[in-house]
């Protein structure tokens, strides 16, 4: 028996080779590169020091953090409202709405940036229309600025938030609402005392995914503002593969910082989904098990398709 199993291990060899070569080795190389001393010898934290002393790179980090934070926050608020709304429809309409959101979630990266240029760019349809109609409220708007970027980021965050959040609304059982009503609670009191606390893990978990998604987003920003806007992902790209002077060590150090931020966000998500599992498990045990299976209909691996990183 043992012998036969050992033979089966051969099936793992190609997998191990591929993962070592294209996942672990590059990460190791990047880590090593970020602490490589001048001239290729010794270990130094000089690159990190340089980053934290440079107003330019600090600004890039700050911009990235801010844009990720704001776009995730807006995304989660809009996504939360829409996710609740979507659970109020009949399953047939709900599935259609979800399909449409899922479809637009595919519309990311370069094509998305391009669509926004058509709509709101310097010669965009709306820009020209508004000018024609004399609506100067939008005169100050510039797609290639911070507000423009937030707008586009929010676009790819909303469907993602929606797809990740709506199953957890099915975890809020109607009978909890009914019990609360009979005990004298108004709807908002129910949401404050039971509904939202039950959703909290899902909300923070989704926030983690959205944040990581925005931090790593490259294609959208690159296509929209090119190298002109100071974002962490864009800086890394130009330091490593750009046309300017290549500074791979500095790029590595910046990349390590970016990776740390996204990994922390993903770990947050992992924690939170564990917590919410505890809740849903309890809900499943106290009564019919039909509800959780309905919530499980959303295939997480489909919903969590990384949108902007493409």
């Amino acid at each position: 028996m043992k012998h036969r199993n050992r033979w089966m291990l051969l099936g793992l060899v190609p997998f191990v080779v591929m993962v070592l070569a294209f996942q672990l080795a590059p990460i190791a190389s990047m880590l090593a590169g970020s602490v490589r001393g001048p001239g290729g010898s010794g270990i130094t934290f000089g690159h990190y020091v340089k980053i934290f002393e440079s107003a330019y790179y600090l600004k890039a980090i700050k911009n990235s953090l801010l844009i990720s934070f704001y776009s995730s926050l807006i995304g989660i608020v809009v996504g939360l409202a829409c996710a609740y709304s979507i659970t109020r429809f009949t399953p047939k309409i709900r599935d259609r709405l979800l399909m449409l959101s899922n479809m637009t979630a595919n519309f990311a990266g370069v094509p998305l940036a391009f669509a926004y240029i058509i709509l709101l760019g310097n010669n965009g349809i709306f820009t020209l229309l508004f000018k024609e109609w004399g609506w100067d409220v939008f005169a100050g708007f510039n797609l290639y600025s911070w507000t423009g970027l937030v707008l586009v980021y929010v676009y790819f965050q909303v469907p993602l938030a929606l797809l990740l959040l709506y199953p957890s609304f099915y975890g809020i059982r109607d009978q909890w609402k009914e019990a609360a009503m009979l005990l004298g609670a108004r709807p908002w009191q129910f949401w404050r005392t039971v509904g939202l606390p039950m959703l909290t893990p899902a909300i923070f978990g989704t926030l983690g995914i959205l944040f990581a998604n925005a931090m790593g987003a490259y294609a959208t920003a690159y296509a929209l503002v090119g190298g002109n806007y100071n974002l962490l992902a864009i800086r890394i790209g130009s330091l490593v593969a750009g046309d300017v002077v290549n500074q791979p060590e500095l790029g590595s150090a910046l990349a390590v910082l970016l990776a740390v931020s996204t990994i922390v966000a993903v770990i947050l998500n992992h924690w939170m989904s564990k917590r919410s599992q505890r809740f849903t498990a309890s809900a499943a045990s106290s009564g019919q098990a039909s509800k959780p299976s309905r919530a499980g209909r959303a295939k997480p691996w489909r919903a969590v398709k990384k949108e902007a990183g493409a």
Binding site: R173, E178, L182, G184, A185, M198, S286, G287
Partner: protein
């Protein structure tokens, strides 16, 4: 004490084209425990939800004392409800769950605390007050749900199949516990169940429901002894329901006026085939035992006599005659035990 307290008049509810409640009338006295008993889909849970205000009836009125609560939102009806799935708030502890209604009503902290302690003692869960619902057993969770709905001192307590998610042993002990608490508090209670044994043990009065109607309403003894229709007879126990023609064959008399008759399984006695003469007022018929099953203190025989299949129950006292499967036996039948049944829907 016996004045009608909760009074339902002409409650009607349609779901699409199907009538779920068909002009139901029901009055309940103060302090009474009334059971709505019926198969699933008979409308008993919908009726309960109408009283609570969770489902809006299409017509009819609901009076609670002098108030017409049919117009009020659920939170102002002063009605407590315990759900089959407990519906405890998973993010709150046992104590916080019980406290919830008092908090929503703006009771001050001292009052809340003394009331919660009282209820925790009532359901015997003082040592679990800081636990979360998912850390409790099903029976404990249901006791918390009971305490939670009693905390706000409702005028009527509604129990929607409160025991059906529990296993048999806990179900039996919890139903006595619920009945004790109900008696102690003199709480006007409506108990919904599909289990006739449960209904017989806990109720002051039972309403049997079928197809959106209350088909019979009476004390447990009354319902068990005198089922009015075939549906009730079948639902209340293992009554043998005989057509007029079958009853005639079995008892050797050409039938009465009713369409069907009920015969209680314990009213038939099994005798050895050679038992000889019957007593004067009894009739003896031959039969063959088809199957035997032992249900604890009762042995249930399935016997075929004159082409009629009968269920016969005998006490499992180790003394009375026991045939074997396939054996020929004599049945002692008492014509006075034959109950005439009304037509369905009469």
């Amino acid at each position: 004490m016996s004045a009608s307290y909760l009074e339902l008049r002409g409650i009607r509810k349609m779901f699409g084209d199907s009538t779920v409640l068909n002009d139901v009338d029901l009055t309940i006295n103060e302090g009474e425990l009334v059971t709505l008993l019926g198969p699933s889909g008979c409308g008993k849970s919908t009726l309960l939800r109408c009283i609570a205000g969770l489902t809006e009836p299409d017509g009819g009125s609901i009076m609670l004392g002098p108030t017409n609560i049919g117009e009020l939102p659920p939170r102002r009806r002063e009605v407590g409800m315990v759900f089959q799935s407990y519906a405890l708030f998973p993010n709150l502890t046992v104590y916080e769950n019980i406290e919830y209604g008092l908090k929503m009503r703006g009771a001050d902290k001292k009052e809340r605390q003394s009331r919660c302690e009282e209820l925790l003692a009532l359901v015997d869960l003082e040592n679990k007050k800081d636990a979360y619902p998912q850390q409790l057993s099903g029976g404990q969770q249901q006791r918390v749900a009971l305490a939670r709905s009693l905390a706000v001192q409702p005028k009527v307590l509604l129990l929607d199949e409160p025991l059906s998610a529990l296993d048999a042993k806990i179900r039996k002990s919890l139903r006595t516990e619920i009945r004790d608490i109900q008696r102690r508090l003199k709480m006007t209670t409506i108990f919904v169940t599909h289990d006739q044994e449960e209904a017989l043990t806990v109720s002051d009065r039972i309403c049997i429901m079928n197809n959106g109607n209350i088909v019979q309403n009476g004390s447990p003894e009354e319902l068990y002894a005198k089922p009015r229709t075939e549906f009730v007879a079948r639902f209340m126990g293992s009554y043998n329901v005989l057509s007029r023609e079958e009853a005639g064959r079995l008892f050797g008399v050409a039938g009465g006026s009713a369409a069907s008759y009920a015969l209680r399984p314990e009213s038939v006695r099994l005798l050895p085939a050679s038992a000889g003469e019957a007593r004067r007022d009894r009739r003896v018929a031959d039969g063959t035992i088809e199957s035997i099953s032992v249900l604890g203190n009762i042995v249930r025989y399935s016997v075929v006599s004159s082409g009629v299949k009968l269920t016969v129950d005998a006490l499992n006292d180790g003394q009375s005659h026991r045939g074997e499967e396939g054996a020929t036996v004599a049945l002692e039948l008492d014509p006075s035990q034959l109950l005439a049944l009304e037509k369905e829907g009469a």
